[in-house]
Symmetry: D2
Subunit: 342 residues, 4 copies
Amino acid sequence: MKHSFKNDYSELAHPEILDALKTLGTEQFEGYGLDKYCAKAAEIIKAKLSAPDADIHFVSGGTMANAAVIGSILRPCEAVIAADTGHICVHETGAIELTGHKICTAQNTNGKLQVADIESILQAHSGEHMVKPRLVFISQSTEIGSIYSKSELTAISQFCRANNLYLYLDGARLGAAMTAKNNDLTYADVARLADAFYIGGTKNGAMFGEAIVICRDELKQDFRNNLKQRGALLAKGAAMGAQFAKLFENNLHDELAKHANAMAYKLAGEIENLGFEFLLPVETNQIFPIFSNETVAKLKDKFAFYEWVRLPNNTTAVRLVTSWATSENNVDAFLEYLKKTL
Amino acid sequence: MKHSFKNDYSELAHPEILDALKTLGTEQFEGYGLDKYCAKAAEIIKAKLSAPDADIHFVSGGTMANAAVIGSILRPCEAVIAADTGHICVHETGAIELTGHKICTAQNTNGKLQVADIESILQAHSGEHMVKPRLVFISQSTEIGSIYSKSELTAISQFCRANNLYLYLDGARLGAAMTAKNNDLTYADVARLADAFYIGGTKNGAMFGEAIVICRDELKQDFRNNLKQRGALLAKGAAMGAQFAKLFENNLHDELAKHANAMAYKLAGEIENLGFEFLLPVETNQIFPIFSNETVAKLKDKFAFYEWVRLPNNTTAVRLVTSWATSENNVDAFLEYLKKTL
Amino acid sequence: MKHSFKNDYSELAHPEILDALKTLGTEQFEGYGLDKYCAKAAEIIKAKLSAPDADIHFVSGGTMANAAVIGSILRPCEAVIAADTGHICVHETGAIELTGHKICTAQNTNGKLQVADIESILQAHSGEHMVKPRLVFISQSTEIGSIYSKSELTAISQFCRANNLYLYLDGARLGAAMTAKNNDLTYADVARLADAFYIGGTKNGAMFGEAIVICRDELKQDFRNNLKQRGALLAKGAAMGAQFAKLFENNLHDELAKHANAMAYKLAGEIENLGFEFLLPVETNQIFPIFSNETVAKLKDKFAFYEWVRLPNNTTAVRLVTSWATSENNVDAFLEYLKKTL
Amino acid sequence: MKHSFKNDYSELAHPEILDALKTLGTEQFEGYGLDKYCAKAAEIIKAKLSAPDADIHFVSGGTMANAAVIGSILRPCEAVIAADTGHICVHETGAIELTGHKICTAQNTNGKLQVADIESILQAHSGEHMVKPRLVFISQSTEIGSIYSKSELTAISQFCRANNLYLYLDGARLGAAMTAKNNDLTYADVARLADAFYIGGTKNGAMFGEAIVICRDELKQDFRNNLKQRGALLAKGAAMGAQFAKLFENNLHDELAKHANAMAYKLAGEIENLGFEFLLPVETNQIFPIFSNETVAKLKDKFAFYEWVRLPNNTTAVRLVTSWATSENNVDAFLEYLKKTL
C-alpha cells in the first residue's frame, strides 16, 4: 500500500495511548465522563493551561465540538464570524446551520481572520432584519497550516471583548500550532485570550477525542446537558479521559505534535533545496509544494496525497500532511523518489 | 470499591476488543469509516442479518444513533410514536425534539408498545393542526429488560407497513434480547420486520460504537452526509469497524450477551429461592427484585445499584444490571451478602 | 347557510375595526411596526395593564406568538411544562418542538394546570440526561373555557418564581376570561403574575393580530430580531397597531368579550332549563351541553358545531362557541330549534 | 410629513382592497384558508398562470413564505444557492438558517444569479463533508430592481432540471417585473419554469398577504401542515383570499404594478434629462440616481428615501421606490424640488 500524506488521522493511535486504554482492564468506572480518568485529565489540562477555573469536556470529534459549543452559546438570531476557509464553513456539511445559526464569512488572509474583517462584518450588520454576529470562530493552526501570532490573537481577543463578541478557537491541530517553530503563544495565553476552545486529540495521536475548554463562566451552564442532547456524551467517557491523561501527563501531546512539525520541516526543507516553490509559507504540519503535473503523476504511483490546486504552466500545488506517525523513513522515501522523478 | 450492578457499560471493553484495536498498530487506513475494517464488519453483520442490501453505519453512541436516524427520516411536521418508557422520551435530554420532532407517547405495557397503542395515537391525530405520526420507535430489549416476541414484532411491523409508518428499533441491548431464554426472533427477522435499527456495542463489550442498520432503500440516501452534519462521522471510524468485526466474526457478540443474561438469571433464581418477589418478569440482563428498605440499605454498603421505585410496606424494587463483565464471583458475593442481611 | 357555533373567528372583524383600518387611507407610515399606530396601541395597552415597562409586539396569530416567545426564551436543553389540553400540545402541529424544545405534559384538571402538577414534573426531571423544565405554559381562558382564579394564578406564579421557571400565558381568549362572571383577576394582576403573555385579537373582533406582552426585562432583548427571523414581523404592522388601538381605546375589547360570554350564558341557562346537563362548568364563551345523539343529528341540520365527545347512553357532548358576532337572534334560533327537537 | 420614497409598503392598502374586505361584513366563513374567498382567489390565480394543477397558499409576509417553502422542501443536509444580494441572505435575520439550511452565495450580476454561478457552486460541493446544494433561489424583480429575461429564466430552469435542483422564485415584487417595459415573460412562463414561487401582495396594494404557488407535484404534500407548524396559517385566511381575489379578478394586480413602474420611469426620465447618471439601469419601480451629497442633503429636507451607497467625488447613489400609491403629484413635487436644488 502506498504511504499516505493525506492527513494526520490515518493511524489509529500512539502505542502509549493504546496501552493507557488497556490498563483500564475490567475496572469499573462511572459513566458519561464522571469517572476518575476524566477528572484526572481535566486537572492536568487545567494546570497546563494555567486555567484552574476552566471547565473541561471530552467529545469524540471536532465537528461535534464545534456544533456543541456554538449551538450552546448562541441565541436564535445570533451568528458566527469566520474566515471562508474555516472548517465550519465548508467541511462540516452545514453542522452550524443545522443548529440554526448563520455564518458570516470574510475572505481569509493566509487562512486567518483579521480584526479588520471582523469589524467590517460588524459594520455591515445592524438592525432587526439582519443576524447579530456574536461569536468569532478561528482555527489554530488554521485549515491551511498557518498560525496566529500572540499579537494577532491578542488583537482579535481585545476587539471581541470590546464588542461583545465571544472568541472561540477550533484547536483540532492546536498541538501543531503550539509547537511550531515560529509560535510565540503559551497555552496560558490561549486560555486567557479565547472564551472557549478545544484541544484536538484525534489529529495528534489519540484514537479519538477532543478536549473542550470553556474559560468564560457564563458559558459553562448546562453544557453537559447540551452535550447529552446532541448525542455527544459518551457512555464510556473514561476512554477519552484515559487518553487525554496520558497525552498531557508527560508532555506526550507536545512531543507528538513537535514530531509532526519536524517531519514537515524536513520534507519542506529538502523540497526547497531541490528548487521547488511553495504555495504557502511552511508553518506547521501541512505543506504545499508546487510540482510539475508530470512529477505529481509520478509521485502518485508511490504516495497518497491531495492535489490542492492547479496552477499555471502545468504545475500543481499538492498538500502533504505529516503526523505523529510519520517516520523519517517515510520522509526519506518520499524525497528519494522525488529526486528520481527529476 | 463496591462492585456495581448499576449498568452494563461500567467496564471499558472486552479484552478481545482491545486486542483487535491493538492489531491495527500504526497501519494507515482511510478516514471517516471508508476503511477496510468498517467494510469487513458491515459484510459480516449483513450476513448475520441475512440482509445483503442493508446499509451499515457506525456511530459512537445510542442517543446519536437515535437522533441521526430519526432526524434523517422525518419531514418537518412528522412525529414519532413511542412508549412512555422509551429512551428517547426520557433519558436523551430532548435529543429528538432538538431535531424538531414531537414524540407522541403511549403508556407502556411492561416496557412495550402495542399495536393498539399505535392505532389509538394514529386515530387521535388527523388534519393540519396536528403532527403526523410517521415513525414507530421501539427498543429491544426494552428499557426495563422485557422483549418483544416474534408475534408481537410481526404485528407491529405489519401494522406499520399497512399505515405508512416506519418502524425503527433501538437495539442498545439487542444482544441481550436475541440471547434471552424466551426469545423466538432471529436476526433475519429483525432486519426483515424493522425499517431501520441499531445493534448496540457499548452495552455489549465494545469500547464504544453502535451499528446502524438501514434496511429500507428509501431511507438510505445521504445518510453519511447526515451523520457528518450531526458530528457523528468519526475520523477514525476504523476503530468502530475493528470492534464490530471482532464482535461478529466469531459470535463474540452473542456470547457476551448470553453471559450477561446468564448472570442475571442466576442472580434472579437465587433471589427468588430466598423468597423475594420481583417488580417485573425476569427476561434479560436487568432484574428488579423487591427488598425491604432495611436490606437495601445494607446491600448498598457493599454494592452499587439503582433503587428503582419505593413500594408499600417499607420495601423497594431495585434494579440490578449484569453485563459481559459480570463474573460469577460478583454474583455469588452479592447472593452471599444478601443472605447475611436476612 | 347554517349558522356556525364552531368557533369565535368565523367572521372577519368588528365594523369599528374595519373602519379604523379604513381611516389609515393612503397615509404613509413606517414599516414593521415602528409606526405611530403600534406606538399608540402599545401605550394604551400598557396603561390598561398598569405595566409601563412592558414591551408590546404585534403578530398575526397565536401559534406564531407561542412559538416566537417560547423559542426566544428557552436555551437548547430547556423544556416547557403544560397541561395535556394545552394548545401547543395538540393543535399547533408541533410548532414548539420545531423550535427544538420538548413539552412535558401533565393531565389537566378542568383544562388547568395545578402547582402540584408542575412540582411533580420538576421532581421527575433531574440530571444531565433529561430536559430542564424552564417555562410553564398556561392558557386563560383555557382551551375548554375554564379560567384560573386569582388565587390559582398567584400560586402558580409564586411557585414559578421560587423555582426559576418562567410563566407564560396564552391569552388567545384573554378577553373572555377577564370578563367572565366569576373572574376575580385584573389586567394588572395578569401582567404582574406572568412573565410574558399575549392578548388575543383574532378571537375577539380583530381581523387578525395578537399583542405579545413581555413583562420581564431579561426576556426583552432582541425580541424583534427573533420575530423577523420567524417571519412574524409584518411589513404593514400598522394594520395591527390600528386594530389594537381601536380595541383598547374605548374598552371595545372587553365589551366584545363580555358580549360573547353573555351569549354563552344565555344559551347555557336556557339549555339547562330544558333539563340538559353539561360536560363541564360554564365559565366563558365555550359551553359543552350533552344531548341525545338523535337531538345532535337534528341540530346539525340547522347549525354548525363540533361534536366534542361521545358519551354513554347514546348521548354526545357538543361544543358551542359564541363570539362578539353572535347575535341574540342566533341564540334564540338555536334554542327554539332545540325545543322543537324534543 | 415628508413624502417617502423609501419603499412600496408604506401605505395600508388600495381602496378597492379595503372595500373588498369590508364586503365580507359579518358573514361566517371557514377558518384557516378553507373558505370560499381563498378558493376563488386560487382559481383566478391558477387561470392567470395557466397552471390548473398548481397549489395556492396564502401567508402574511415574504420572509414567512421563503422560510416555509424552503424549510418544507429541503432535507437536513441540503442547501440553497442564491445571489449575495438575495433577500434571504441579508434581510431576513437568518430565517433560512433557522430552518437548519446553509445558503451558498454567489456574487450577483446586477442583482441576478447566472447559470455559471450555479454551476460553479455545484462543482465546489461534493462528498459527504459538504452540504448538497438542492434549491436555487432567485427574486423577480430582484432586490435592486432588475429582472430576469425569458432566456435567462429559461436557462436557469433548464440547468436546474438537468441537475436535480429545485428552482424557487421570490416574487415579492413579481408584479413590477411582469409589467416592466422590457419584460418578455408571461405568468405562464413563470409557472412553467419555476418549481415554486410566490406572488407578492404586500408590496403591490394588498394590506398583507403573499400567494405561494407550488407547481411541482412532489413539493405539495403536507404543505398546509408545514404552514401551521410555522405559525403561518392565518385563522381568518379569508382576509387574504378576499384581497387576492380582488387583485386578480380585474387585473388590478397588474395595473397597480404598472402604475408603480410608470412613476419610476417618469422620475428616472426627468432626472436623466437633468443630466444625472444612475448607479444601475432603470428596469422596475426602484431607481438609483446619483446626486451630489449637497443635493442629497437638500432633498432629505423634503423627502424620505434611502442613501444607497457613497460614491467618489462627493456623490451618493440614492434609492427611490415608487408604488401603486405614488401619485404624479408626488413625482412632480420631487422633480420640481430637485430642480430648485441645482
